[in-house]
């Protein structure tokens, strides 16, 4: 057991690319957790997708043993946090297990919207924060300007910020010293009291089964002890207690203030509720810690196998993903057009993209994803309310009293030259401006926006109008009544339920028109004329027509052309496989996603 005053629990808060992972790796290396030859690039981002995209999805943790300049040995627990807004929930639980945080800012790029959100969360959790300016070895580094910016924007004293280059190793010792001297040890904790520990995270490991990350508050956690998870009221025998250095290493016990893992015979990650309190089976505490609010999926879409024969494969794959990601939800769905599939819930659009990518990459599934939708609250005339996850399930309009939609509070930081375009974008998306401040040459905007205007392509558009310079972050704000209508899309007079969506009445016509135009581009010509219509109720608000195929013939076809023709045929067959038949019309799979990414231009 480590004495409490020798423990420092900390997180690193940073924007993507500002060097969080590199710094983590350096800290591990310098404190001897891994030999240089064992250092894979960026140890903590262990999923392929994490490494490719340079993002962290799952919180991870590592224990660093450090002998400080005062000659004493310290245990430093680094809890890695995801950077992206979709995983704000994971950030919140990581921060709750810490007393301090390093705020890493790129010394040339400065503070970004994402940094802000996370740093505010850290301040809300009363964490002590040490600013660290990274990449000071680069010619573009302007530490003085960035220090001033941190003070202006965040209101944090940055005069004694640590200057480092995680890449070259400059300043790493200073960071370690700052952690020891400037961050506080765990505040309270009594090894003599009954066990009280917080369940910080849980994941599924192919070798160890469900691994539970805990932070001990009071008491001691040991192998062989029987513990109770208070929220679930379930009891487990502790098979193993350990810490990550970063390799999983068994320890005899974990005392107050310590962070480590426990392995019990837990079947599913969903059985280990993040934020739960762990105590003794007998003689334990009776009042649990204040838990976190569970992560709520905010974006939903239907996932269907392109080939209906692969439904069982999809079922197995989503179940596997759920095993390790309790924030991803799914339930079976039947679509008249697409057959059997699942309606899946995600923390946000990035989460959706990542799950889709994992399904296709790790499970080799060809999928059709329907329009992403948010959760609407519908108040019916009979006084009841329901949550609508799928526009196809919308009750008849005569039964509806009102529809509420989720709104977000978005923070956008941008160089001021793009401000005009961004204001227009937010305005077009029914945004309500709350704040507009200048920090040097950068503008900080706070907008309230309906989430359904953001789920489609807001982020893409923002990046495009700002040439990639604007950064964006959001949090779910509240539900508000909206003048929303269900827009159906009819292809060849038949409604395609997978393309229907709820839209704001004032935006329906332009949305419908854009949708019809896009589908006209994406659906190939057939032997007959195909009308494409957008309709609200029985009223058609937009219409396009795909003319009948008039000519499809190769003029010259001799001996040398046969192989080429046959290859063309093979390509057509491949393409045909990626189409779904709706009535007499073949609609390509990409139409479902691409038709939704159409605003602006």
């Amino acid at each position: 057991m480590t004495p409490r005053d020798r423990i420092r629990n900390f997180s690193i808060v940073a924007h993507i690319d500002h060097g969080k992972s590199t710094l983590s790796d350096r800290l591990i290396q310098v404190t001897g957790g891994l030999q240089a030859r064992e250092m894979k690039e960026q140890v903590l981002d262990s999923m392929d997708i994490e490494r490719e995209r340079g993002i962290t999805i799952k919180a991870q943790t590592v224990r660093l043993d450090y002998r400080a300049k005062d000659g004493l040995d310290y245990v430093l627990n680094l809890i890695d946090t995801p950077g992206h807004v979709d995983f704000a929930y994971e950030v919140s639980r990581s921060l709750a297990a810490c007393e301090g945080a390093l705020l890493v800012v790129d010394a040339s790029q400065g503070v970004e919207a994402q940094t802000l959100a996370n740093v505010y969360q850290a301040l809300d959790n009363n964490l002590e924060i040490v600013p660290v300016l990274n990449k000071i070895d680069l010619p573009a580094a302007e530490p003085d300007r960035i220090r001033a910016q941190i003070e202006d924007v965040i209101g944090l004293d940055a005069s004694d910020a640590v200057l480092i280059s995680a890449k070259t190793g400059i300043g790493i010792e200073d960071v370690l010293e700052a952690i020891v001297t400037r961050l506080p040890p765990p505040k309270e904790g009594d090894a003599g009291k009954p066990l009280k520990a917080m369940l910080v995270d849980a994941w599924y490991d192919a070798y160890m089964g469900v691994v539970v990350l805990v932070r001990v508050i009071d008491g001691v956690m040991k192998k062989g002890m029987r513990v109770r998870m208070m929220a679930n009221d379930s009891v487990y025998g502790v098979d193993k207690v350990g810490v990550f250095k970063p390799k999983a290493t068994d320890v005899d016990e974990l005392g107050p203030g310590e962070i480590g893992f426990l392995i019990a015979n837990i079947k599913e990650v969903a059985d280990a509720r993040v934020g739960d309190t762990i105590t003794l089976e007998k003689g334990g505490i009776t009042t649990p810690l204040t838990g976190f609010k569970p992560a709520q999926p905010v974006v939903f879409c239907g996932l269907f196998p392109t080939d209906a024969a692969n439904f069982e494969d999809l079922r197995a794959a989503v179940a596997r993903l759920r095993l390790n990601d309790a924030s991803f939800t799914y339930e079976m769905e039947t679509s008249a057009a697409l057959g059997f599939g699942f309606r899946c819930g995600f923390l946000g659009l990035l989460h959706l993209e990542i799950i889709q990518e994992r399904l296709s990459r790790e499970f080799n599934l060809d999928l059709i994803a329907t329009a992403p939708s948010v959760v609407y609250r519908i108040a019916l005339n009979d006084g009841s309310t329901l949550e609508l996850h799928n526009p196809a399930d919308m009750p008849d309009v005569t039964r509806i009293r009102e529809i509420q939609e989720p709104w977000i509070k978005a923070t956008i930081l941008t160089p001021d030259e793009y401000l005009g375009a961004i204001l227009k974008l937010c305005q077009d998306r029914r945004g309500v401006q709350k704040e507009l401040n200048y920090v040097g040459t950068r503008a900080m905007l706070v907008y309230e926006l309906p989430l359904n205007e953001v789920v489609f392509d807001f982020y893409d558009r923002l990046k495009s109008v700002s040439r990639g310079y604007a950064s964006f972050d959001y949090s779910i704000d509240d539900y508000r009544v909206g003048n929303l209508v269900k827009m159906s899309i009819l292809v060849n007079e038949e409604p395609v339920d997978a393309l229907s969506m709820l839209v704001h009445a004032g935006r329906a016509e332009s949305r419908g028109r854009a949708m019809c135009e896009k589908l006209k581009e994406l659906i190939p010509q057939h032997l007959f004329k195909i009308p494409i219509q957008a309709a609200i109720g029985g009223r058609v608000i937009a219409r396009e027509t795909i003319s009948a195929m008039r000519k499809d013939v190769t003029a010259k076809c001799y001996g040398g052309d046969i192989s080429r023709k046959r290859k063309l045929l093979d390509k057509q067959k491949e393409g045909k496989k990626k189409m779904r038949q709706f009535g007499k019309v073949d609609i390509p799979q990409e139409a479902f996603i691409a038709a939704l990414k159409m605003d602006g231009d």
């Binding site: 000519k551 010259k556 001996g559 046959r566």
Partner: protein, 377 residues
């Protein structure tokens, strides 16, 4: 099967046409002997590998094989005769550019008995736009010179050109039909990937007619040729009577065997009960090297699966006005055609299914690729 042919590819041209995506190389004052010798050797090596069988047709294509002399051609024909034997009435076609008309008599003396002349257009402006070296008057003269040799004559035209009107094309076509040719190949201009025309289209400098205009041009073509006694016997080929059809090309459309010699040439040979697809090396130096090492002009022949052979039969056979014999095609595929698809095309007036033959109707011919692709599945 419907006979045996030899296709000879001569890949050199003095000028490259902006619409052509064949395996071609620009060459002036070329020493023709090395490639000619390689092709001769390739013909012999083919016979050694696949066995001797008399050739019914030889087709000298390119490129510009009319750049060859009568003696070159005699050497190639002689090689086929030595290696395989030649049927007594064998059809020997030479693709010829009008500017090579002065050599036609020499070509005929070398053994050519059918000229296929690249007239392409009878309007000077159009010929310039197509990047051709000749003008309309010399094209007419070339057709007459070919006819004067007493051999069979075919001519090629390219239509559905930029800005071409239906009436102007009908008049141009009538003028071509008045020339002494028993056969016409009438091709709609196709923009092939990687050609100069392809780049021009993408840069907005060339706008070929849209599908509706192209369809109207195709329809007037059929009407004018029918009236002149030269109906289509294939999508783009017209003949004044069955004897005037290109026997060599019919062999492609009806699934016959042929060897392909010369750089980039394709072949189809049934050997040991398996249909093989062959393609010679594209680059003349690679081709020559392969042949001089004692082999044929390609590495390995690719055996076609039953499905692939079936697909090719449908894709090619449906192009003929005579149609595709259903029984043999289904036997080859090992499965019947999709009855629903046949019925649907029938109802749409695109396909006839009578007396065991599947035949495209005139509107069906404009959708030949779509229909063939569906039936070939």
């Amino acid at each position: 099967m419907t006979g045996f042919g030899v296709y000879v590819h001569w890949p050199y041209c003095t000028k490259l046409c902006p619409y052509c995506d064949f395996n071609i190389y620009r060459a002036r004052d070329l020493d023709r002997a090395p490639l000619r010798r390689a092709i001769v050797a390739d013909i012999h090596n083919h016979a050694a590998r696949y066995g001797r069988r008399p050739a019914d047709t030889i087709f000298l294509g390119g490129g510009t094989p009319s750049l060859l002399s009568g003696a070159d051609i005699a050497a190639l024909i002689g090689a086929v005769d030595d290696a395989f034997g030649l049927a007594p009435d064998a059809e020997i076609t030479l693709e010829a550019n009008p500017e090579d008309a002065p050599r036609f008599a020499d070509h005929a003396a070398g053994g050519v008995n059918r000229f296929s002349i690249g007239v392409q257009a009878l309007e000077d402006v159009a010929l310039r736009a197509l990047g051709r070296a000749h003008d309309a008057a010399s094209a007419v003269a070339a057709v007459e010179a070919a006819a004067a040799t007493g051999k069979r004559v075919s001519l090629d035209l390219i239509y559905a050109r930029e800005g071409q009107g239906v009436e102007a094309w009908a008049a141009e076509l009538e003028a071509a039909l008045a020339l002494p040719a028993e056969h016409l190949s009438l091709y709609q201009l196709t923009i092939e990937a990687g050609t100069a025309f392809d780049r021009a289209v993408r840069r907005g400098r060339l706008a070929p007619p849209d599908d509706d205009r192209a369809a109207a041009l195709y329809e007037i073509t059929q009407a004018v040729c029918d009236a002149a006694g030269a109906p289509a016997y294939e999508i783009s080929n017209h003949a004044r009577g069955p004897a005037a059809r290109s026997r060599h090309n019919v062999l492609y459309w009806t699934g016959g065997d042929w060897i392909g010699v010369g750089p980039g040439a394709h072949g189809r040979i049934t050997h040991g009960g398996v249909r093989l697809a062959t393609k010679a090396h594209d680059r003349p130096e690679n081709y020559t090297a392969a042949v001089s090492a004692g082999g044929v002009g390609y590495g390995d022949a690719t055996p076609l699966s039953r499905d692939e052979h079936g697909e090719e039969t449908v894709l090619m056979g449906l192009r003929l006005s005579d149609g595709l014999a259903r029984g043999p095609a289904e036997a080859l595929r090992g499965r019947p055609f999709d009855a629903d698809a046949v019925a649907a095309f029938g109802e749409a007036g695109l396909l006839e299914d009578a007396a065991g033959v599947l035949r495209l109707t005139p509107p069906g011919r404009l959708l030949a690729d779509h229909i063939a692709a569906t039936l070939a599945q």
